[in-house]
Structures are given as C-alpha cells and as structure tokens.
C-alpha cells in the first residue's frame, strides 16, 4: 500500500504542537512581564530576554527527560519556563528576593534549580556551561545513570576555547552530552559572521568527529526532531551531538539596549518569521479554534501577573544572610578573615 509521506504538522499530534505553543507563549509573556518590571525600576541589575527564541527552547526542552540535566546562560529565563520551572520563583530571583530560586544571591543571569529541574545553573561567564555540562555528562558516564546533559548556549560562546576543549574530551570519552546552540547572530553588538569564519557554528563539531544538525529555530517541530535524534544518540552511548537553532533576538543584548548596531532588515526578517505567529496559524489550519489560542495567552498573562505579584510582595533577604552559603563546612571561620 502506498503511503504519502506526512509533513511534520501531520506527523505530530495537535497536543504536542499545542504544548509547544503554550510554552512559547508562556516564555514570551514571562519576558514581557520581566521587561515591564525592569523598565519600571522594580529590578536591580540587568536582564537579557529570550523573546524571539521561544520556539527553539520549547522544541528542545520537550525532548529532555526528567532524569536529564542542563546548563544555561545569561539569557536563560526561557530555559527555566520550558523545563517546567516555577515562574514565581524565577521572577522572585530577578527581583533579588529571598523566595527566588537562589535566595536572591544569583539574579537573572544565574538561576539554578539542582533539586527539581536538574538545572545546573545559568552562568554569567560566556562559555562556562560548556565544560560544566560536559563534566555532568562525565559524572553520568562514571555513575552509569542513563541521563543526558544538555548544554544550552549562544552563538558567540562557540568562539571560546572551552567549546573546543570540552567537545574534544566529550567526543573522545563518548560522553552523554548534547549541546544546543541558539544562534541569534549577535554577541552583544557584534554580528557573529564579522568575527567567525564558518557560515554555521555547529559544523565546527565535525572537527571532533561529532555529528551535528542546523535547524530553523523559529520552528519548534524542526528543533524537536533534531533534538530527539541528538538525545537518542547521546543516550545510546554514541557520544555527544551538537544542534544549532537559528533564532532571532528581538531585543538588544540587554533589556533597554536599543540595538542601534543592527540593520533594520534583521528585525523585519525576525517578525516575518515569528515562531508564535507561525505556529498559531498552523494550529488554526489543523482545526484549533482561535479562542483556544487566546485562552492560552490569557492564562499566561494571569500566570505571569501572579508571578510578578509574588515577587513584588516577597521579602528581600535578611542582611544577616550576606555571608551564608559561602562554604558548606566552617563558614564562620572561612569568611571571618
């Protein structure tokens, strides 16, 4: 019997796609709420937003199993939402509150949740998550625990030595590691191709005999497919895999950066390829009612309103906690002098 090859929309259930949609909308809504709080002066420091990268994050994290681990970056709020983290605790951390994921000691760039999300931390140092994720994979190999570690990072960190050092070791030792690159083409103001000699970044994996894929990061299905293959590869003991998702960074580097260094065409292309809009249209074509999508957006608004309220009303850390958590043993003496 001849079967017609199904296209990706038909191959996957409506529920899966709706799940992507919900995650993407929740990430964007979280970020919009964070941006508003930042603009109003409710947050200290800087925040870096994932708006424009939601499809990649939703697709990728749908392939990460509960027993798996991941690392993240300064632009890491989306990973927390996609992993099923609690927006309240994330928002409270952005506010520097006692109730935040890190008790207000990390802030936006350093959210971690070791116990529930297996989140080994967002990191303020570009490229630092590469060896940390590889080290987590090494731990899994030594312990034989069948978990995969996913290192999430951006385009520009592939120019750090850590990318090459850690990938070489992970490949040599066949570690259960997947690297997920969200390539938004900009390291702060510098367009990646002005400082990098390969059109794609994941292709550098070939130098270490590591398989890789380059996909459209505005399409969660494309990312989901590539990441499924990557996770299976890593979990089956064949070593690391690198996936690069081409995404857009709607904002400047940080919230409030007007991004004057970027040509107007960048945002024109970005908006023409908006992941949430494209997936919404697909879902409607599959028979989902417009109201259902609106309901998802409304629920996300309410959820993030609640997160802001929680964060705003939460207490700051007590000043007496300033030296806590420096050491596990004998903190008192170690911080005394």
């Amino acid at each position: 019997m001849a079967t017609k090859k199904k296209n990706s929309e038909e191959k996957y259930s409506k529920e899966l796609l709706l799940g992507f949609y919900r995650t993407m909308v929740r990430i964007r809504t979280f970020e919009e709420h964070a941006a508003e709080c930042f603009t109003k002066g409710m947050l200290a420091g800087n925040i870096h937003l994932s708006i424009g990268q939601e499809a990649a994050e939703a697709g990728a994290f749908a392939t990460i199993q509960p027993q798996d681990y991941f690392t993240s970056t300064h632009r890491g709020h989306g990973h927390v939402i996609a992993r099923g983290g609690d927006p309240k605790l994330a928002m409270a951390e952005l506010f520097g509150k006692r109730t935040g994921y890190c008790k207000g000691k990390g802030g936006s760039m350093h959210i971690a949740d070791m116990a529930k999300m297996n989140h080994l931390g967002a990191n303020g140092i570009v490229g630092a998550g590469q060896p940390i994720s590889a080290g987590s994979a090494l731990a899994s190999k030594i312990m034989g625990d069948n978990s995969v570690t996913v290192g999430c990072f951006g385009d520009s960190s592939t120019n750090e030595g850590t990318f090459h050092e850690a990938l070489n070791m992970a490949a040599t030792w066949m570690l259960p590691l997947v690297w997920f690159i969200e390539n938004n083409c900009y390291g702060v103001s510098t367009e990646i191709h002005r400082v990098t000699n390969t059109p794609d970044l994941a292709s550098r994996a070939a130098a270490y005999d590591v398989p890789f894929a380059v996909v459209d990061g505005t399409d969660p299905v494309a990312v989901y497919e590539a990441m499924t293959k990557a996770m299976d590869h890593a979990r089956s003991g064949k070593g690391p895999y690198v996936v690069e998702a081409k995404v857009y960074r709607y904002q400047g580097h940080y919230c409030g950066d007007p991004a004057v260094y970027r040509p107007a065409e960048y945002m024109e292309k970005a908006l023409a390829n908006d992941g949430i809009e494209k997936l919404g249209k697909k879902l409607i074509a599959m028979g989902v009612k417009e109201e259902e999508l609106e309901e998802i957006k409304k629920a996300a608004q309410e959820e993030m309103d609640e997160a802001v309220k929680f964060a705003d009303e939460s207490p700051y850390p007590d000043p007496s906690e300033v030296t806590d958590d420096m050491y596990t043993a004998d903190n008192e003496r170690c911080v005394a002098r």
Binding site: A112, M143, Y327
Partner: protein, 327 residues
Amino acid sequence: MSKKITVSKAIREGLLEEMRRDDKMFIMGEDMAVMGNVFAVTTGFLDEFGPNRVIDTPISEEGFLGMAVGAAMRGMHPCVELMYDDFVTVCADPLFNQAAKLKYMSGGQCSIPLVLRMPMGSGRRNAGQHSQSLEGMVCHFPGLKVVAPCSAADAKGLIKSAMRDPDPVVVFEHKLLYAKKEEIPEDEDYLVPIGKANVKREGKDLTIITWSREVNFSMEAAEKLAAEGIDVEVLDLRTLVPIDWDAIKASVSKTHNVIIVSEEVKRGSYAGEISAQIAEELFDELDAPVERVCGLNIVSPFSPVLEDQNFPHPDDIVKAVKRVLNK
C-alpha cells in the same frame, strides 16, 4: 607506629586510601593515568581503579577543570592536578568564577567537593612560567579553601582531609619537597584537620609565620639563631584559608615580634595580608613592625645564581629576625 617515606609517596598513600574508601572520587589531569604522574603520585592507580576513575586529559586545563566542576555539582569528588600552579592562569574561570562561586550564587543549592592539587614553588630552575608561588592570588577568592603542607605527614593528612571536605580545596605542594623522606604515622585514618596551624618549634623572642618549604628553611634559621641565644617560635600555618587566627594570636601575644616568610612575590602576597591583619588586630602586642620575608617583585629567573636570590634562604630569615629584634 611510623614509617619513613617521601612526601610524594605520602601524597600517593593519601590519595590511594581515599580512592579505596570513596567510590565517588576520581582523578583527572595531565599524565595521571598511564604514566602515573610526573612525580609518581598516582603510580598503579590506573590498574587498580580503571580508566573511568583515573583519567589522562588532553592539555586543556580550562576544559578539564571546568568538567571537574560540573562533575562535582553532580556529587562526584574529583581530584584534579595542574602540573604546575603557574597553569592556573589558563584555567582561572573554572576555579575562580565557578568552583569558588557556584555554591553562593545558587543560594547554597550545591557543594563543589573538588580538590585541586597544584605543584608550586621556586628552586627547580624552571624559570618564570614554572616556578611561581601563587597563594596570594588563590587565597583572594572567597569560596576556596587553601592548604600548603611542608611535611610528608601533613601532606598525607591534609590531602585526605581535603578529599573529605565538602568545599573546593586547593592544595599547594612544593615541588622541592616531593623527594624529601620523612616519618609518617602508619594509621590509615591519619587526618590533619583543615584550618589548624602547627607550632613547629616553640620560642619566646619572635614568631616566624610561614608555610610550605619555607617552614624547613625557617627551622634551619631557628637553629642558627638558637646558637646565638635567640629563641624563635616557628608557626607552620599548614592551612591558609581558613587561617588559624587563634594560633597566630596566641603566638604573637607571647613573643611580641613577627616575621612572615613565604616564597611569593612580595607585592600583593598572602604574607602581606597576614601582616595587615596582625597590624589591625594585634598592634598593641607588637614590639616592632611586622616584616615580610618574600621573593622579589620580579619574574622567577632561570639561572641558578639568579633564582637563588628570589626566594628566602635560612640566612635571609636569620637576618630578618635580627633586624626586627634590633640585634
């Protein structure tokens, strides 16, 4: 019961005993497995524990130290060696920004039970990039513990304590101590607690605060001074962070005169930090200003004639003691 073995054998024994009792421990670094380390610290480990727990790395210090941090976050107990402490500059991020900070920045969610062994020190004629004493730089970073043993017994006892400590511990091992043969206790559970100094020699006229190889030079100086009727106390810190302030205070309050001896570049040294703390808190106990006896503010030279001028010898210590005592 005791036996006489070299410092490097003592470290090997300490690591071996800990590897046997702790299956979360693994060893990682350049030439640690097949060769068994350039100072024979891990000879035979590969055969006993296999390649998953004794890992030869490529020359990728930032990569493998960063991986050790990741593994430690997952509950493993990595023991990493840098072949020379000078190489810490190429892996500064995983040590100073990651291992030292992740516990605090995560609000205490994880510990980093990592041990980093770093051979250090002058005297091997290895010139400016293989001879440094970088205690001051490492002690600067909150989040790390730092030890610097001078004897075989302390080296074994401290490496074992370091492996059992839940926090990242940097172990400075002086390269010119490795071959020194000394008595050590037979006891398999011989531990030297982190944070405890050792009064190596009691005296009443002046306190020499020191660590690592300079303890031995200070002891030689003390003998020479004793022959001249000057009675110095030698306080071997053993641990630099957390510093044993009680021991410093007790000794300074007894002798009222202090010199601090280390191989570091004098400017920005940990010796300077200790001097400042004594000036701040024990000023009333002092009969004379605290003197630092350190290396020069120069690059470690190669030629033996030049290098010998760049770290304190017993005679330099004798002179400094006499200067402070005005004798």
